[in-house]
Point group: C2
Chain length 405, copies 2
């Protein structure tokens, strides 16, 4: 008789956002009249910009002709897109990353979830707490953790890097040495950024201890302040210890189009085995490349029209972030984030848990957010709101929150 992967049984409940979706759908069934405003999942609401739509139409047109048809593409992604990324996201910012070090995929979530496969099962994993659940769950599924500990609210064997009010939501270097370190800045869920100086400390730490940093830069486009790194490769020595993940979801609205990329520098190797080669092998064996037309849409993100149009789109969301941040402050809430990231991390009213606040907010204001504890024990007492709604809904939600709290 065959057996299943027993590690899956360690997972706690279902995936956070599925749970939220279920709660909201139940509420709506009971209150069909209620106009629910969703500021929970980090999904964008603005349509794709004209430069991207045009690129998509052109690519579709090509696919309908014998000369323009594209079948299987290179698994690592088309050169035309990798060249744009290397130039615009790296070389123009002084980071020496070449096109050849970039792997295109259909989304950062997949890459961030799959990257652990190229590492041994015995590696000690460190994650921030609170944290994007995918880093944790994929390691649980692979068997790199023990059981979930109800008392601590975490998995045995994981190193949790607390991101709390007390440390400005910037994790301290751990005493216990991890092999794999997941970092995401600007951070999901706290919306807080890391300074270049603080990130350099992590890079130095990783190089000293022989750790790899898995750096999720999904929210890089939302950075507004100076001194905040857009890429970990702005730090010295990062090419020897860091893998970086990027998404097109937040900077260009590709949540429904699906595109991302991963950078693995050539220097990164473990006893002479290149991590780039390992990932290349994984990509070639288990993946078949992102759709041609989506890669053409990705290229349009870097055109001059595309850049101008997307700058406006990001500014639109960041104005939402400012409105939420300042509106909540005026209403007496303590709020974090929203300056270099599209997320606002607010302290829930005293004597309430974050799920209680979720239920309360849904019931009173018909506003959906994400309970902080859904991102780990360190998120208890906090609540995430996203700036990805429409202006109208964002203002309406704020008005309702101010009325009830």
């Amino acid at each position: 008789m065959y057996t299943i992967n027993e590690h899956y049984l360690k997972l706690q409940g279902s995936y956070l956002f599925s749970t939220i979706a279920k709660k909201v759908s139940e509420y709506q069934k009971e209150h069909p009249q209620a106009e629910v405003i969703r500021l929970g999942i980090g999904d964008v609401t603005q349509p794709l910009v004209p430069a991207i739509i045009e690129a998509l139409h052109n690519a579709v047109e090509e696919m309908g002709t014998t000369e323009g048809f594209h079948g299987y593409g290179p698994e690592q992604g088309y050169e035309f897109l990798r060249e744009c990324i290397a130039r615009e996201d790296y070389q123009n910012r002084g980071c020496p990353i070449s096109a050849e070090e970039i792997f295109i995929s259909d989304g950062a979530k997949q890459d961030v979830g799959n990257i652990q496969e190229i590492f041994g099962l015995g590696n000690r994993v460190a994650v921030c707490d609170p944290v994007y659940p995918v880093y944790v769950d994929t390691n649980v599924m692979a068997g790199r953790t023990g059981e979930f500990n109800v008392r601590t609210g975490g998995y045995e064997g994981l190193i949790y890097l607390k991101c709390l009010e007390e440390n400005g939501f910037s994790p301290r270097l751990p005493g216990e040495k991890p092999d794999l370190i997941y970092l995401c800045f600007p951070n999901n869920p706290t919306g807080m950024a890391i300074t270049r100086t603080a990130l350099q400390e992590w890079v130095d730490y990783a190089n000293q201890n022989g750790s790899v940093i898995l750096y999720d830069a999904a929210y890089e486009a939302y950075i507004t302040e100076e001194g905040i790194p857009h890429s970990i490769y702005e730090c010295e020595g990062a090419r020897r210890c860091a893998i970086e993940f990027h998404s097109f979801s937040k900077n260009a609205g590709f949540t429904g189009l699906r595109l991302g990329y991963t950078v693995i520098p050539r220097e990164l190797s473990c006893n002479g085995v290149s991590l780039h080669e390992l990932w290349n092998r994984r990509h070639g064996t288990k993946y078949n490349g992102a759709p041609y037309l989506v890669q053409r849409a990705g290229e349009a993100v870097y055109s001059s029209e595309g850049k101008a149009q997307l700058k406006e789109q990001v500014a639109y969301y960041m104005e939402n972030a400012r409105l939420i941040r300042e509106g909540l402050k005026a209403a007496g809430f303590t709020v974090y984030g929203g300056v270099n990231a599209p997320y606002i991390w607010l302290k829930v009213p005293e004597r309430m848990s974050s799920w209680e606040f979720f239920d309360d907010l849904l019931k009173k204001a018909q506003v959906v957010g994400t309970p902080g504890v859904g991102f780990g024990q360190g998120g208890e007492g906090f609540f995430r709101l996203t700036a990805f709604g429409t202006r109208e809904n964002t203002l309406k939600a704020l008005e309702r929150i101010k009325r009830f709290y």
Copy 2:
């Protein structure tokens, strides 16, 4: 110091098709004038049909409007597509599969490669020999095999089901009992089909022994004969033991568009744990759904215009298959396949290995095929040609082959 997944080091050379691509590119560098015809990789050449192009344009148009924009979709796929599949590919053929049992993805290769994650590492795996390399390599990477054995030409610990001329390329039930059994019919690479009666024996065997059959039905659209099953669920009891994979690559030319699906019936469970639920958890944690516009293109595959246009496209490739099969026979080759599949499996000239024939064919005729041994030891002495070329190239390739052999 972190460690890598050492199982990757067991993998033999690079992925088959990358090796071929490299050999061809080297040949072309040395012979820039040569007009190379590629009948190697199973990639299609005909453009997307008008019904699909129209659906894509419409979906692109939607994505550019506030009302029509689609962000994150359901991870399992949109209802509109799952309903089409359940009705057209299953219920209309008498297979009781519901939309709710279908998972949409960006390609069968990914699903076929990832499915092993939900099973324990101790499972014994059986694969056909020759075989599509992804089944083997993904299990090697996970650690379900021992080292590669140069003498046997296979990995220790795998059960190889020989598909040879002697048994009509239909594998016999193994004496040693496997837990996971990969089957692909119509078969890649041999191009041979399995009868419903023979497949029923496998289903019965799996149910008796507590095995799961992982059934790859990627070439189903090419079946022309009666009595050949289009789905494993045509067999009694398959809902209790089989997972089925489908691709849109071959029936609709989606190799560059990326779409596939996996069926996991509700009955399939291991000591009370539902495999459907395990895969659902994996899908939700490591995947974010196929692009909205590609799913709309998938829906168009099932429209009446789409069906009519694709029937013609498949017929075009199958006429290629007939021409190759009969042309090679006339030239004195022994050939198999090409009746219910777009692949022709030919016996290479005596005293030649399949890689020698690859090199010889490239040098003499500038025709690229796939050496049988690239699919496993059981493929030695054979060679795969695909019917996915253009008519013009197919005829030209045949002419050259006839001239030199």
